[in-house]
Symmetry: C2
Subunit: 289 residues, 2 copies
Amino acid sequence: MTPPDHIAVQDDAIAARLTPIADPLDPRIADYRDVRDRDLKGRGGLFMAEGAVVLRDMARSARFAFESVLITQKRVPAMTDWLAALPDAVAVYVAEGAVMDAIAGFPIHRGILALARRGEPIAPQILLDDAPAHALVLACFGITNHDNLGGIFRNAAAFGAAAILLDPQCCDPLYRKALRVSVGAAARVPFARLGPGPGDAGNACTLLRNHGFEPLALSPRGTLTLAQAAAHYQGRRALLLGSEGPGLAPDLIAAATSVRIDMAGDFDSLNVATTSGIALHALTRQAGG
Amino acid sequence: MTPPDHIAVQDDAIAARLTPIADPLDPRIADYRDVRDRDLKGRGGLFMAEGAVVLRDMARSARFAFESVLITQKRVPAMTDWLAALPDAVAVYVAEGAVMDAIAGFPIHRGILALARRGEPIAPQILLDDAPAHALVLACFGITNHDNLGGIFRNAAAFGAAAILLDPQCCDPLYRKALRVSVGAAARVPFARLGPGPGDAGNACTLLRNHGFEPLALSPRGTLTLAQAAAHYQGRRALLLGSEGPGLAPDLIAAATSVRIDMAGDFDSLNVATTSGIALHALTRQAGG
């Protein structure tokens, strides 16, 4: 069967861009070897992203520059448009699925990986200055679980949060798993690190207030319900989230307006990503209609 | 150092109940071998639960009967009260941590496993009849992911949902991982399976309406917002949840009142467990204050 013309043309245009890889030990794809080990060690200014949805999302952002791509032959047809739009300097390696799995050290079901360069770190002040008048931002403290941080970014994107601030203890939202769980949102929602100095967590509320953001700290013993906070605060707001278990530090809660999610009483337990979704929905509902 | 008297007495009382296990191949603990393989095969009328929180929760329920317990020596002191309350017929095996890990086939960080008998299946009609006048129940369709189903049960418990109905495609909430992610809620919130016959999913709305429950189907194109649904329907309500991706079947949405969660517009993506949390919070807020 002869493929239709337009497919053939696409394939020709892309074919020149592809570097076939047959040997898992080929030095050109050394960066893709033993992906999980490298995830743990970190990659300096680079990070690894996977899956078509995440990579398409990243390509729409000016914050990242792709360094290279590793794709299975089977996935090329579905990604020709995306591959064609990559700058010429980006190497595109193509391998059989089994070779790709041997390179990565485990099965890459999504069939596409890319190495990208992080943007320069942004100061929290710049993100806060740039936010709209009724912006909602998130500030995360001690979120060390990649599933939870990924889920928080996903919810932030779904409800249009303007930015996410992360204390020094939070894990990396561009870690491969966090990025995947976020369905690419970690590459969409701007984020910045809060300073690492002692007392800086407590100063987060001062920083937020100086930029006109009301800090709303989620706590089981909060003084306002979410609905009351949504009714009272409709300008710039920051939602403060702590890790499950310890929660937010008492000094942080004391320096903020504390807000609670009313529950059934005898089972006071919500996942922190779910908590962020409930609070984002409640606080953005007024604006959203 | 001599331990205080009351600790010594507790230990003596418990010591007689413990059966030490030194050999991972001891036939008495055959049910605990290769836990993950057995998880996949299923255990018939039995299920495996892990961790102190889940097991303490289960002990408060009349729905389950423990068959046996496997605990590390290190964990015994923290669980003496729970162990002492077990019926005499329940065998309690105690092993060194390394032996327990060798039995299970992977590290059991929580240090305690138990084999329990499921209660008799309950008919959905009975759960719906028994629910209070303003009850909110959940009905899940095609939730095959244990993390998601566990998260849904956790949220149901947090917001006091009266029951959960599961279509035949939903995974088992008493599967070890779902139970763990639910923080024991899968053993607290009553659940029932909807019939497996063809067309039964569509009949779910008839079943619900016959019992006075308004079926509210979550859909991105729902006609009401969550807030509107919360204001309109304050009697018995059922929240219908479909799997991420395909969502609820069109016939199910057509037979129900469809409800949407308004989002930012360009990133219409929420995890189904997070969705359940947002909807439960919105629909129970009126009653909860």
